[in-house]
Symmetry: C2
């Protein structure tokens, strides 16, 4: 038995496919899992599988949902005429954490990236246009990431929405709160200057 037992090797192999988990870590995790009571391991495996099975995308906004539409889309109070456009469901979670924004969301499930062959028809832009046409939307807030793809996607969507006569905004760029100016990169600093406001 110079090799691992097949069930252990299989477990290690599967764990090592997860991001940030190398062969060594996978081995350590597998040995730990094997040392656990069967009930605990069953709970772990069930949480992974049932969790994946239970989650789908909201048919309206594209956020994670357990039903056809997500909890945010079914909440009447959130239909305030605002739509916040983000790249993926994790960004909805991030935005919700600030507990400031009270409107709806639209998840694109990606950003435009010609280099990777991702064009406008590969992300949920058509769905956004349909929602804007159908729902009573006054403002679309473009909250894609402040990177090349995110900016390009925001610019592209803005161009499509502007003629529809609604307010299209982009989240502010600037120096992060609590950070040190000295360590801010030039582009961020330039954007912070550009977006300065009277106090």
């Amino acid at each position: 038995m110079a090799q691992q037992l097949e069930p252990i090797a299989r477990m290690v192999g599967q764990l090592a496919r997860l991001p940030g988990i190398g062969q060594k870590t996978a081995q350590r995790l597998a040995y730990h899992i094997i040392s656990l009571p069967q009930e605990d391991v069953h709970e772990l495996a069930a949480a992974i599988w049932q969790g994946r099975k239970a989650i789908r995308y909201c048919s309206l906004c594209g956020n994670y949902a357990v039903d056809d539409t997500c909890a945010l889309c079914t909440d009447e109070k959130r239909r305030n005429g605002q739509l916040c456009v983000v790249r993926d469901p994790r960004d909805v979670a991030a935005m919700e954490r600030i507990r400031e924004y009270k409107g709806g969301y639209h998840v694109l499930h990606g950003t435009l990236s010609p280099m990777d062959g991702i064009g406008p028809e590969d992300i949920r832009i058509k769905e956004l246009l349909m929602r804007v046409g159908k729902e009573d939307i006054q403002e679309v807030i473009l909250a894609t990431n402040p990177d090349i793809e995110g900016e390009a996607t925001a610019a592209y969507i803005a161009r499509l929405l502007k003629p529809m006569g609604l307010k299209v905004t982009r989240i502010a760029h600037g120096v992060p709160v609590g950070s040190d100016l000295e360590y801010a990169d030039e582009i961020t600093l330039a954007k912070a200057m550009e977006g300065r406001r009277e106090i």
Copy 2:
């Protein structure tokens, strides 16, 4: 939805119970798992659960096994009169990796630790004595860890076995191969001097 969906929260909670996986990592892993195709997640969950279910302890040596006795214990060639005593199955795997040792094993499943209330009856010492009495054993190699508990356990077992008239050995302590003398701790270095051999 300021909180996470229940199936996601449950997955994060379970993943965060694994050693070395904090809340943030668990969240990252859960979001990754949710983004995977269902088949992939099923394979992962199955590998974890089936793996745990398939593995038991060899009734003879205490090593990991898929059957009643492990592959090493059923291998006639490994019954050469030597038994290597280790703390847990991972140590068997480590020892097998050197491809030098050709004898049998005995896994204690722990080391003596009065502080933690672990006494001789809590680890597989009685089973070791029974094997030594029944099987044709000439040498018992004590390969518990070179730490306080490991040393105490080795000393305790040696005291029990010596009167039975067999060779009892302890793995050598010394400076690890490829290491730098400058960084060796004093105790290791003292042990290395003590165990020096003529060349």
